[in-house]
């Protein structure tokens, strides 16, 4: 079964800083990896995903993530954060070959961007 871990519960940076949010997964087969953002009081919204091909994927609003099979990781990055990026970020994994399409989320990382 697939699992995902996000080691940082909270990350605080200043506006204009770069940031990396960490995600590690475990699963032996092909997988979908995704990142979602949750602003306070709302549901989750899709940011980006990886299934195959170029390990660096671009998402909305300047976010990108890099897949590493050797490290079992899919870290999210942004070169210059804005105060509006303050939110909770979730990493998710699902088995690529599964008919049932179970999708499992990490515990989330709260990003706080200070002015």
């Amino acid at each position: 079964t697939q699992t995902v871990s996000q080691s940082d519960a909270h990350v605080t940076v200043f506006e204009g800083d770069s940031v990396e949010l960490r995600c590690n997964y475990s699963y032996g087969g092909s997988i979908y990896l995704s990142w979602y953002i949750q602003h306070h009081g709302h549901g989750l919204q899709f940011l980006l995903k990886y299934y195959s091909g170029n390990p660096v994927v671009q998402g909305v609003n300047g976010f990108e993530a890099e897949f590493s099979k050797s490290d079992s990781s899919f870290h999210l990055r942004k070169a210059s954060v804005h105060w509006s990026d303050s939110a909770v970020y979730f990493c998710a994994v699902s088995a690529g070959s599964s008919n049932t399409n179970k999708v499992v989320f990490g515990t989330g990382t709260r990003l706080q961007v200070l002015p």
Binding site: Q6, Y32, H42, G43, T100, F105, T107, G108
Partner: protein, 113 residues
């Protein structure tokens, strides 16, 4: 625009009460999911389904039943609610054709007193 609608948005019930949370999607997606969100635990999968009449057990199913009556509608049932089920519940839908992207509703906050 893909849409997932949950109801009710807020609910208070007593211990032992009966609660049904409803979810409707207009995305024509095959897969639907129920998650609960709690501080320190992130999103945990309760039940999910890949079509009308189908039900798959998630990671935290105890105390919950679910039913997928149509492709559009997925219900979560708490027949004997307990305070431990106080949580924020999210429904989502997805499909392989959308690249497995999940579309979420706005959540249903349940308080069991």
């Amino acid at each position: 625009e893909a849409a997932v609608t949950q109801s009710p948005r807020n609910k208070v019930t007593v211990t032992g009460g009966n609660v049904t949370l409803s979810c409707r999607q207009t995305n024509s997606h095959n897969y639907m999911y129920w998650y609960r969100q709690d501080t320190g635990h992130g999103l945990r999968l309760i039940h999910y389904s890949y079509g009308a009449g189908n039900l798959q057990i998630g990671d935290v199913p105890d105390g919950y039943k679910a039913t997928r009556t149509t492709q559009e509608d997925f219900f979560l049932l708490l027949e004997l609610a307990s305070p431990s089920q106080t949580s924020l519940y999210f429904c989502a839908s997805s499909d392989r054709s959308s690249g497995n992207t999940l579309y979420f509703g706005e959540g249903s906050r349940l308080i069991v007193v």
